[in-house]
Symmetry: D2
Subunit: 343 residues, 4 copies
């Protein structure tokens, strides 16, 4: 039992090596988790390709939507017990005492570590989790189905909070992919009225099924025009799409005084039209993943039956194929790696 | 008494004509004001040149920082009396019942009229003011000194509110001109700790005099670097400078989770770096002038002795020269047109 | 057509006189409405009995949940047209320019008039409505069913907002009568998780039908104990019950940092335990009806199919019997006076 | 060096025993502090007398406004170094992971320990401090003068925040004693306009010196009447007085929509007038001490020269006399125990 199978990045832009690795030992405060499932996130692709200014560790086991069972406790672990079902997260740990950690904003901690990026993650049969930042999976959860909540779910849930859209008000969700189709469900559960924007009719149909009241195919129509005409602009916009065109459209879709939240991390600049932003009193805001509190709440919405991610299971061996499909935008909902023989 | 002297724009980009005009008659809800003083705002220049997509009326008497005495009441005026000292404002009137007017956000009203833009303003010896949107000048005020509060003052005061910087936190004020030197004073009076940024040392000295604790000459130094090093970034930034470079600097000056408020209306786009905005959890926001409530509060700060605009009086006949100086950035503080023989 | 039937209070504590009265003429800004339906509110009872320190006009036609069709326009009406279906409200009018009116808090305007209290209301075949404060009934509404939204609905909707309970958090609703059974529906529609408290099992069953996840019969059990045990206390409590015992229980039901909102207007004091309030960081807050904006939102929730008041229609002639039943707590849901021959 | 002098409570209601005690050993995460000064708080009196439902440890060394130098580090201390000047606090430690600790509300943590109550405090020559919850004393501070900031200062600072009074708005501070005279200074530094209420003219004179614009002697005049007449009611009230009459007055002093914050912990109930609370839309709120973030900010205001507590030093041997004076309301400002030979 001292070896496990894992998908390892050895150089940026290279294929994953799926091979044997050492099962790690939990240090103080850590626990060893035997994985059942792990979602695959766009961020894993950026990690593997070394896209961002701050590079991940190498060699790297990516993955930050992992769910499994605690098999071993490090020293001083009090909040997690053997046999618990827990998850890892992008926010793998934080310092606990900086200005951000002190005020419920640990997602901004400058000393944070990140799952599957600065520390190894869930693309292997075992992973280490900091017990203080572990996600506790609610009883009765389907581990494969809940996996995407650990990043996609908490990210859009927090993003929706940051739009400051109130129950009964309109929110536009731009991009109905892995993040967006879950965002529609959270928005509906939060009492918001939802307009979904995408360029694919099947994704818009999924949004309608989850409760979007209006859908706009941005390939065929100008979403800004439609939305201004139908509801006078939305109170908020959540931009999960990475296409730069989506950012400009978001400005046009918003009602005066509204808020646009960017939930993705594309490289490059967005040409922000200052005149419009000032005249219309707009707010533009970035939001990344969520805190421990956001995570608990996001998981509770799942447990209450409000959130049902669309996912497809794949074995770890398919990891390179999965990333190819992701590169070509061919993935519906979320891919979840299966370690339990369910795939 | 049926004629008055006024500075009139007859065609965009043309010189002002200073000549005789009819003294207008107050309609229902309006009052006729004999002017004592009027500040000159950058917006007046944009109006006279027809710079913005929605054009002002023509011919136009600009001016929205006018202070004077009520000489005549229109029908149904209840909130203003003969002899009152009142001011006009950019927000000359609003509909009173739309979603914005209902919720204390009349500055976003789509049916608003604007002083010295869609209705005639304060660049003449008389002006009409909608009594429901009049600014009531507190007793004991110096009419020339308070004039700049009517637009510059309320604009930066509201802008500072929108930064959501709390007492004891740091705000950077970018640009210490007509708006910025008043912003420093409001920020100090609101309990904020102030960092002033400009490219002119005399303006920075003025900022220090008004209570700025740190000043940065952006010509000589990189404000982002200095500010990150000295205070770890500010909680908020108020951008009153119109130079596009100021927008990018603002991103760099801000602490994670901070808010940048744009207070000016330059044309053109600002290249917003999405990756940084998301990773640092930044908020970027536009803010324009202020509501009736903001105006009352802004004037109260003046009455409490906390705000002292720097200004120079000029006769109305100098208006073309004043605008030339404004075009060349030669104005210190604010120019105030004098109608009372004080200049 | 110059006479109408109306239920008139001629002296406090006396029976209603149901008799002929003059149909009023709309003054400037007012409209004449031919009533279809009017809800009956507890406040009407307080008005008729002169219970409160500030007395209503006499003789008085009570009623502030009236729905009907605009038959005549006063001078200067722009926001309402002949044939529109509109409602009156407790907030019959406000001054439009005081500190509260300026900031979206017209419910606190000290110059407000109140429907069926300081001005005549909806307990007659016709009523006058200030067009600026009229409630616009959404197309497709059932006028009898929507009537209770005009006071009961907007009151609990605003009260729930004032609890500051966020989607996914727990709210306790104390008292499942005319207000409470609608509060459960708004809370669910706003994404809150609901615990209902009452002393009658049939009311608790109604709460469950509308989505309450937990119900407590306060006659049989201690709600504070049950709620602390099941969910660790709620984030907010909405007290619609007028029994003084309900106030003390509310303190006990709340989680640290939680907010208790009083929505009723009982006479007398509530013994607030300061030590607990400070130690647990509690907030106690009063909330009365709602603004024009709250009304529009409350009606939109109805139009979206989220709110379905339980009501029984009665003819105007039954008014004295209805008030007797109200005095003895015998009313389920809401009584709605029918003027359209539906009862 | 293994013995120290300390003031020890051996039984509730008994006199302090000033005698030798063991110098404690710092456990993991703790540091040993050699005291220079310690403020004396009303809470210490409640502790010594066992007034509250949850009793402190016995024997007990009270005191939670202690300032001193770190002399010894326990295992795993990273945030505090030998020689640092630090303080203890009422919030001696918290769990770090509950719903309150996760969201910047550790003052509500149900697993907190309290300085000089559930753990020994600063009424001795040495004390232990949890390094994660230590107050870091800013460079250049006077240790005796800053001591009262550690509880009195942070308590009123947080209390003022909880009034939600904005810069330029009015706050009433009820009671100008140990807490209140510091509250006036924080309120002024936060940009609020201050009305001070007390029954002693010398305390009101102190309030004026610190910037209160209006003072009311509640023995001679009705503060509610004066305040309504002079400013139309305040936006907020901070109640530091423990006299029950102060609570009722606070309701009367407040403007509609205003907030009253209780900062003290008297036993007994306050008869809250529900009708007024609802009609006027008031908020009543309890607030206790402050979080680590509040502490840092409160200390920064001191370091910026905005806060100057009035205090008198006394030797530890006077402790019983000091408590007698406190029982009889004879203390001006704050008493600070001196361990450094300054008294
Ligand atoms: Zn941190
Ligand atoms: Zn992710
Ligand atoms: Zn409007
Ligand atoms: Zn201007
Ligand atoms: Zn009612
Ligand atoms: Zn009003
Ligand atoms: Zn204390
Ligand atoms: Zn805790």
């Amino acid at each position: 039992m001292s070896k496990m199978k894992a998908a390892i990045v050895e150089g940026f832009g290279e294929e994953f090596q799926v091979k044997d690795a050492e099962i790690p030992e939990p240090g103080p405060g850590q626990v060893l988790v035997k994985l059942i499932a792990s979602g695959v996130c766009h961020t894993d692709l950026h990690a593997a390709e070394g896209d961002w200014p701050v590079k991940p560790k190498l060699p790297l086991i990516p993955g930050h939507e992992g769910v499994g069972i605690v098999e071993k406790l490090g020293e001083g672990v009090t909040e997690v017990a053997l046999g618990d079902m827990i998850g890892n997260a992008w926010l793998a740990s934080a310092c606990g005492h900086c200005q951000y950690c002190r005020t419920g904003w640990e997602t901004l901690c400058e000393a944070q570590s990140n799952g599957g990026y600065s520390v190894d993650g869930s693309f292997g049969q075992y992973m280490l989790v900091d017990s203080r930042y572990a996600a506790h999976i609610p009883e009765g959860s389907d581990p494969h189905e809940i996996a995407p909540v650990l990043c996609a779910g908490v990210t859009v849930f927090k993003g929706l909070k940051m739009t400051e859209v109130k129950p009964g008000q309109w929110v536009a969700i731009s991009g109905i992919g892995g993040l967006g189709h879950i965002a529609v469900q959270y928005a509906v559960a939060m009492g918001m009225r939802v307009i979904a924007i995408d360029v694919a009719d099947d994704k818009l149909a999924l949004a309608s099924k989850h409760g979007a009241e209006i859908t706009v195919n941005a390939f065929a129509q100008d979403p800004a025009e439609i939305i201004q005409q139908k509801v006078g602009g939305t109170h908020g916009v959540l931009v999960t799409a990475v296409h730069p065109k989506a950012f400009g459209q978001a400005i046009g879709m918003t009602r005066r005084g509204g808020t646009i939240v960017f939930n993705g991390l594309p490289a490059g600049d967005f040409p922000a039209p200052i005149f419009d932003i000032v005249l219309k009193g707009l707010t533009i805001r970035g939001s990344i993943v969520g805190t421990r509190q956001d995570m608990i709440e996001a998981l509770e919405f799942y447990a209450a039956g409000k959130i049902k991610p669309t996912f497809h299971t794949r074995p770890l061996e398919d990891i390179n194929a999965v990333f190819d499909e992701m590169r070509h935008g061919k993935i519906d909902g979320r891919v979840v790696i299966d370690y339990a023989g369910r795939a």
